[in-house]
């Protein structure tokens, strides 16, 4: 495996060519959204400048070029998640929309009163709220897998859960956006399938940082957001098994997703079009394909290994700071995400003082209010890393935290 050269990769990201508040930018919020390499930006520009027209409708040259670009991007994303077929790759706005698609188009039609939908205390709201909403609409019940003290999923109650009712859906993330925990999806998939349930995997936080292979994982649906994988905002992918997608009703209806429309009846188009109503995010798809080219050229295994190193380094340096509380599992069982609190200083104050020193971190509940309730805090600070993160940024964070301590001494 080729080691990652973050310092070289960093030069591909124009955003770092600036100072913030007169300081070098230490961008430690990649878990919220990643920065963009020039290669991706140029691919989108090129598409707009040379090949732009609406897809699938025109019979002229530009429309054909645009259609080809969109479908090549779909094929690129098929390879990225190792899906059996490109028809199973549905372009959506983001992981949230992908998960809503499954909750509505599968959950609304298949859940029945008394059924169980199992999520976890670690879920992002995007894989929690849709299930809570649709379950309550159908009279089904939502159950939460609890966490251990270490911030890892506690699977000891699975047998009891199986006896409580008909488990129809198991929905969890592969990597927690808040604690960085890498979840034991293989065990949960096996358990879900024993129950006859579908397994819905939120890979938004995993896809940027590790190889995500839908066939190896054995999941039934998988969602990811392009903007976290160096891609543009406004595009994400839902992958689903053909046999499930074919049986499902559509989520959004309208143009492009139809086969025929009559005054009294409409029939749906073939996969993936049935789930892609309206004009596709064409340039975004082209950008996303270029982004995963970029990420794969750097090497997903190398990224994962590098982030483990950074997480270990950050956990070590942060532990030196008096009054710090670190959340989540040890570095070898987490992605490049570190959540912490500094004494009783509110994370918002921490983040603001850090910002004035050029350090960007996330402060808040990270769209994980059930997890915050479990941790007994209103919010945490979160520093997260990616392939362009260098150790100096973590050092800058540590220095910044010492300044926070001084202000609140």
């Amino acid at each position: 495996m080729k080691a990652l050269d973050a310092r070289a990769l960093r030069k591909d990201f124009p955003i770092f060519e600036q100072e913030i508040h007169g300081k070098p930018l230490a961008f430690l919020d990649s878990a919220a959204s990643s920065q963009k390499p020039r290669q991706m930006l140029e691919a989108m520009d090129r598409f707009y400048e040379t090949s732009y027209a609406n897809v699938h409708r025109g019979v002229y040259e530009l429309a054909e070029r645009a259609t080809e670009a969109l479908e090549l991007s779909r094929e690129r994303m098929r390879a990225f998640v190792n899906a059996p077929s490109a028809r199973e790759i549905i372009f959506v706005r983001n992981a949230t929309e992908a998960l809503n698609l499954v909750a509505y188009a599968w959950g609304l039609w298949n859940l029945e009163p008394g059924d169980l939908v199992v999520v976890t205390e670690l879920e992002h709201h995007s894989n929690f709220v849709p299930w809570q909403f649709i379950a309550s609409k159908r009279g089904a019940e939502l159950r939460l897998l609890p966490l251990t003290e270490d911030g890892e999923l506690d699977l000891s109650g699975l047998d009891d859960l199986a006896r409580e009712g008909n488990v129809k859906v198991v929905a969890t993330n592969l990597v927690s956006n808040s604690l960085g925990t890498i979840n034991p999806v293989d065990r949960l998939v096996a358990w879900a399938h024993e129950q006859g349930a579908i397994f819905v995997c939120d890979a938004a936080q995993a896809a940027p940082h590790m190889r995500v292979d839908v066939q190896a994982l054995g999941v039934d649906f998988l969602a990811l957001s392009g903007h976290k994988v160096c891609g543009p905002s406004g595009i994400g992918v839902l992958w689903g098994r053909t046999e499930l997608l074919q049986k499902m009703e559509p989520f959004l209806t309208g143009g492009h997703m139809i086969s025929s429309v009559r005054a009294d009846r409409t029939t749906w188009g073939e996969l993936p079009h049935k789930f892609e109503a309206g004009t596709a995010p064409m340039a975004e798809a082209v950008g996303l394909a270029a982004a995963v080219d970029y990420v794969e050229a750097a090497g997903l295994e190398a990224i994962e290994a590098y982030e483990h190193e950074l997480a270990a380094y950050a956990l070590g340096r942060l532990a030196e700071i008096p009054g710090i509380t670190l959340y989540g599992p040890p570095a070898d069982r987490r992605a490049g995400i570190v959540s912490f609190n500094l004494a009783d200083v509110h994370p918002h104050d921490v983040a603001q003082i850090l910002d004035l020193q050029g350090v960007a971190i996330r402060a808040g509940h990270h769209c994980c209010q059930p997890l915050m309730q479990k941790l007994g805090v209103a919010a945490t600070n979160r520093a997260s890393f990616y392939l362009y993160t260098v150790r100096e940024e973590i050092d800058q964070l540590v220095e910044g935290l010492h300044a926070v301590r001084k202000v609140f001494a």
Binding site: H346, P347, H348, D349, Q352, L356, H365, A378, A403, V407
Partner: protein, 144 residues
């Protein structure tokens, strides 16, 4: 002075560390709870009126949150005592901002206004007057 010395100037930190009017009032004449889901700030405000049923005789707050939200609410407690409910229900936010005296980004403005908005909701609720525009629709207040 560095920028964060300005933002977290002494008076803000003093109010944050030694909040004025911190506590609760049992059988308060007016009370409301406000939250800022952005950073998890929470403030509850309790008001006791004097014999005229109008003058604020005592006002207290409880809650937790960032320094800006808690300090601003503490300052608001000092500003509110002895004034009338109708006056406070219409209080111009600039009066509080002047007291805070530091420039705030739009995000932090929400933190700073949490106490005032919650106080206004409490007073309007107690008097049965309609919430002004911008606050309409808030009961258990969610600012965002």
């Amino acid at each position: 002075m560095t920028e964060f010395d300005q933002l977290y100037r002494e008076v803000i930190l003093d109010h944050y560390k030694n909040p004025r009017g911190h506590g609760t009032i049992e059988d308060a004449d007016a009370e409301a709870e406000g939250q800022n889901p952005l950073c998890g700030d929470e403030v509850s405000i309790y008001v006791a009126f004097g014999e005229d049923g109008e003058t604020v005789e005592d006002v207290k707050f409880s809650g937790r949150g960032c320094a800006i939200s808690q300090a601003a609410t503490s300052m608001l407690m000092e500003m509110s005592k002895g004034r009338t409910a109708s006056e406070l229900a219409e209080l111009d936010k600039d009066e509080l901002l002047e007291e805070i005296g530091v420039p705030l980004t739009p995000v932090r403005l929400k933190c700073a206004m949490l106490g005032l908005t919650t106080l206004k909701v409490a007073l309007h609720k107690a008097k049965g007057t309609p919430l002004p525009e911008g606050l309409a629709g808030f009961d258990e207040l969610d600012l965002i």
